[in-house]
Amino acid sequence: MSARGEKFDVIVVGAGPAGLAASYILAQAGLKVIVIERGDFPGSKNVMGGVLYRAQTEEIFGEGFYREAPLERHVVETQAWVLTEQSAFKAVHRHTAFDEEPYNSFTVLRAKFDKWAASKVRAAGALIVPETLVESPIIEGEQVVGVRTGRPDGDVYADVVIAADGINSLLAQKAGLRKEVPADQAALAVKEVIALPKEVIENRFGIANDQGVTIELYGAASMGMVGTGFIYTNKDTLSVGCGALVSQLAKTGIAPNDMLEHLKEHPAVAPLIEGGEAREFLAHLIPEGGLYGIPKLSRAGMLVIGDAAMLVNSMHREGSNLAMASGKLAAQAVLRAKEWNDFSAASLKYYDQLIRDSWLYRDLRKYRNMGRFFEHNPQFFTLYPDLLNEAAREMLTVDGVSKRVKQRKIFWGSLRRRGPLYLAPFRMAWDFFRAWRSIA
């Protein structure tokens, strides 16, 4: 490769949001940066739901980036649905503020967006080498000094290697920074991108121009497993997907594709995708370990960022923004190390400190017990969605029974579903108290 024999300041492995953010900042600062990407082009292996947040993207690619970047729609309406097999309880929020620049978030297709982001990184002076697999770190003594690629004579050297190679990060594993992801700390999500005429999408979702809607789906979306689903409006496609913890998929034996087909046939979902034509079928793991899933973030000559560092806030379905933020912090640490010409473990540990002092760490800390709680309390994915929907149905059914009688029926009926009457009220109170504590 063109990089043979050359030494770089920084090698970034993986051209996703994390890697591109870090390399953009480092290249702009004048460092000699190489980005190594295994796909045909940056974006061709990258998958998310996906929602891109303006604030953190802007911190990297500049104010008003959304005017030139290939985005799908800016999100003006956010919905959450609690599903049972036959029903849906919907919460919807819409505000004109979300329809005004600089916008809050966008739906996005990563193959297109990452390609654009990579072009910015290239323009900033970084060398982007696609179609190249990084096989292992090159370690001398304690120091990571480069990476071995799959190309002939493909060793590349640098002062620092940044692992931005996603949740599977074989690189971080081989460098001893990370162990294998436990099956209850990763969710498999499957997604279809479904084509529909632009006008049909806009009519069905009540939007116009570039306005977009996101819908998060709970309950029956993951067939009782700990998981969620989603529907996002793109320009002339919909992203429809769902996911569940790998441990739950393994235990139940439910095939991921069956879970997705089950969701697509839901009576509240089917009309939205009716007449659509599948364009692509995608699968991706999502880090769900939260705070406790964060591995060792640095060692001599190496940093880990983005999904490779398991930085995802699943409560708020935020990932790409944490990825970019961590890329920025890594770049900051590398710039300081460069200034001092010190790439030791102690010097690069500055990155750990920056992460710990950041908003993203505080967010992950806030929700640190959430994942474990929901995994051990499946009633939140089965029983409670059912009770909510049944209560709504009862109150909305006009059948000559007085509302007070209906309320009583709902109250006692719900209690009975959570066990014997002398236990149920305490169980329910305890459930919601702990649920609240895990997210509050």
């Binding site: 295994r38 796909g39 045909d40 974006g43 061709s44 292996k45 990258n46 998958v47 998310m48 297709l109 990563r110 193959a111 297109k112 967006f113 990452d114 696609p130 179609e131 190249t132 697999l133 690629t149 799959g150 190309r151 949740i167 599977n168 074989l170 294998e180 992801v181 436990p182 099956a183 990763a186 498999l188 499957v190 279809e192 991108v193 479904i194 496609t237 790998v246 998929l249 393994a250 034996g253 439910i254 095939a255 991921p256 594709n257 087909e261 697509k264 089917a270 995708i273 009716e274 007449g275 659509g276 034509e277 599948a278 364009r279 692509e280 079928f281 995608l282 699968a283 991706h284 793991l285």
Partner: protein, 94 residues
Amino acid sequence: MKRLTLEQKLFLNGFRPDTESHLRIKDPEKCRTCKDRRCTTVCPVNAYRWENDQLTVFAEGCLECGTCRIACQECDNIEWNYPRGGFGVNYRTG
């Protein structure tokens, strides 16, 4: 919406298949005694199939997600790598 089979869905995706499989069963004997064979259900493209009393891997539809490796980590019987650079799935939307 018209229902597609998994095979039909995979035809939608762009693939550049490698000549050599990037997924390998380390010890086929071990799979014979494996109780749940989680790989045969968790894989989103059904790449692992139990046929004629042995585990067969169809790596050409692989979406490189890594689920099989994580699901099999107790046995640790899947040698999991990415396809070589430029090979494998090629998303157009992502």
